[in-house]
């Protein structure tokens, strides 16, 4: 148990959270679900709208062919049933950014149902810190259905520049898959791990770019609590419109606290739609749910049921790329990788491809994995770039790694070349030679430096002779300084020890 869990005021001592997520993900299409208007982000308001998106009288929706293949891919990648028949339904509600007064969605017969994905979740009590122990957990995918997005309401005067609510319908009609999980998640950290795994799958199969900042990947969280050991679920609330991983975790944690305080006081949870106040880190009730019939769903008479051929499903199955979990297993077996490094590499298909190319070229897969998952990823994060958006070629990184592996370049100097390789590209060996960075492993040179350092640091040398190894790093540092950072560290350490102990 972590220190947090030992504290008596932790709600998790008394209650088990039960969490299910609904994810809305924008599909990777050029045009909208039912109209030919373009799907773009950040354009001028109402410049990408078609009369169909505006809900003009007399218009008829025509389904975008591409979304069928995308829905099938999602279904297959989540071990779900792809239903050969699904039905579009109208979800009726009134809101200014919904011009028709209904959203075309799927209700009783969704296109995808009854699947699961595997998620690496933190082991309970191992905390949130990096490198926490994980275990594979299977999370059920209840269903996924096609629907159109609504427009955007801008309530903030600071953003809109004038009073009233501003409505931009560019987003109205953008194709979505709503992916609903089973209530299989048991903590905020598990919810976040599931979301990351799902996003990674969506990107691998090129169904969605799933960029949260662009609103392409949004999440609602259903949260309830029950006393430990009880099988029956408690009453749940739904937290709407969570648009970052941090907010998903923060909102779930805040809602767990809110519900536990009500339950501790002997109260009852009311079924409600909640919002998350990011500033105050608190959830609050937006509206109470009186009953589920509010939306008066019915089959849309403008649209014929969507029939999907088995042959199409099989053709797409044959064409499906290797998925993150499969890649992870293969990397572990083929390259002997393990743990968090593998997780980082396989989270992005582009990074995984870069790694494989580099690992083969340098024939040092573990070194390549470490370089890419740590040093290179840090460079990418700092610049907010994907690996294939830099000047660094996988062959160049492979060459850098080889130079280090062969002892010709110190790790420190190699690290210093990396930012330039990322920004400008280039050949590491040529850079090393031009700048005279090649490591000196000539024992004559190294002995000279070591001898000078030993004679100049008598006190430290005495301590080491007396059995205290602590000053050794200091002496190492002095030698490297004398060598201008170019001495092969292994050789320096060896000679230093030998000469201090007097057997060199």
């Amino acid at each position: 148990m972590s220190e947090e869990e030992r504290m008596s005021d932790n709600p998790l001592d008394r209650y088990e959270p039960v969490i299910g997520l609904e994810v809305h993900t924008h599909l990777k299409t050029e045009s909208k679900l039912f109209s030919p208007a373009p799907v773009r982000y950040g354009g001028a308001p109402n410049h990408d709208v078609h009369p169909i998106d505006l809900g003009m009288p007399g218009v008829l929706p025509v389904l975008n062919e591409k979304v069928i293949g995308l829905a099938i891919r999602l279904g297959l990648a989540t071990h779900s049933t792809v239903n050969t028949r699904s039905v579009f339904a109208r979800k009726n509600y009134f809101y200014p950014d919904l011009p028709k007064g209904y959203q075309i969605s799927q209700y009783e017969e969704p296109v995808v149902s009854n699947g699961w994905i595997e998620v690496e979740v933190p082991v309970k009590g191992s905390g949130k810190k990096r490198g926490a122990e994980t275990v594979t957990k299977r999370i059920g995918v209840t269903r996924a259905h096609l629907e159109e997005d609504a427009g955007k309401s801008i309530h903030d005067v600071a953003l809109s520049g004038s009073e009233g609510t501003h409505i931009d319908l560019n987003r109205a009609g953008v194709p979505l898959l709503e992916i609903v999980s089973e209530p299989d998640l048991r903590s905020a950290a598990e919810a976040s791990a599931y979301l990351r795994a799902l996003r990674s799958i969506l990107r691998y199969i090129e169904v969605s770019d799933a960029d949260m900042e662009k609103g392409q990947f949004r999440c609602d969280a259903n949260v309830s609590l029950r006393p430990w050991g009880r099988s029956q679920f408690g009453t749940r609330t739904e937290i709407k419109n969570l648009n970052s991983f941090a907010n998903v975790e923060g909102a779930i944690e805040a809602e767990i606290v809110r519900q536990s305080e009500i339950l501790d006081d002997g109260g009852e949870i009311q079924q409600a739609t909640m919002g998350f106040d990011v500033e105050r880190r608190k959830t609050r009730v937006l509206r109470l749910k009186e009953n589920a019939d509010d939306y008066r769903y019915f089959d849309d008479p403008d649209l014929i049921p969507l029939m999907i051929d088995e042959e199409l499903i099989e053709a797409i199955r044959a064409d499906l790329p290797e998925l993150p979990e499969q890649k992870r297993e293969r990397f572990e077996q083929e390259y002997g990788l393990a743990g968090e490094t593998t997780a980082i590499l396989v989270a992005s298909r582009r990074l995984a491809d870069f790694f494989e190319h580099c690992a083969r070229a340098c024939n040092a897969p573990k070194a390549a994995a470490n370089w890419i998952a740590r040093d290179l990823r840090q460079e990418l994060n700092e610049r907010n770039l994907e690996v294939d958006e830099t000047r660094l070629e996988p062959d160049a990184l492979a060459s850098l790694i080889r130079l280090v592996e062969e002892g010709r370049l110190t790790t420190k100097n190699a690290r210093e070349l990396l930012p330039e390789l990322v920004e400008e590209g280039g050949d590491p060996q040529a850079m090393m030679e031009e700048r005279g960075l090649e490591a000196v492993s000539d024992t004559g040179m190294i002995d000279e430096w070591v001898t000078a350092v030993i004679s100049g640091n008598a006190a430290a040398v005495e301590s080491v002779r007396g059995g205290d190894d602590k000053p050794l790093n200091f002496l190492m540092g002095q030698v490297m300084k004398a060598a201008g950072g170019k001495a092969a560290p292994g050789e320096v350490r060896k000679r230093l020890m030998e000469m201090i102990r007097g057997d060199g």
Partner: protein, 106 residues
């Protein structure tokens, strides 16, 4: 499905609730006559339900067509001035509506 499908007789409360969901404001007389008329429609449907439909696939649409599809090709939206032509109020190409206090997205 809506409660009114399952019952042969519709109550005044059903009508009031449905009108509320549809944002319709009905007078007392209208509620009375709606309750009566909708009840009659449901009675008629009830007669149809006497038929044995066991083993017959539900009809989702009257025309036996394959789903008509459109290739994923984008074409420009309509002229934004035209899109906004009937808007009672607009600003910088946005429709402007009275301030919505609570974000109630569906």
């Amino acid at each position: 499905m809506l409660a009114l499908y399952a019952m042969s007789r519709i109550t005044r409360e059903d009508v009031e609730r449905t009108a509320d969901l549809a944002r319709l404001s009905l007078s007392n007389d209208e509620i009375e006559s709606m309750t009566h008329d909708l009840g009659q429609i449901l009675d008629h449907v009830e007669q149809l339900q006497a038929l044995d439909t066991q083993g017959i696939e539900p009809t989702a649409h009257a025309i036996p067509l394959a789903t008509p599809l459109r290739a994923d090709k984008a074409s420009p939206g309509i002229d934004p001035d035209l899109a906004l032509a009937n808007a009672p109020s607009s600003d910088a190409y946005a429709f402007v509506v009275p301030k919505v206090i609570e974000a109630e997205e569906g």
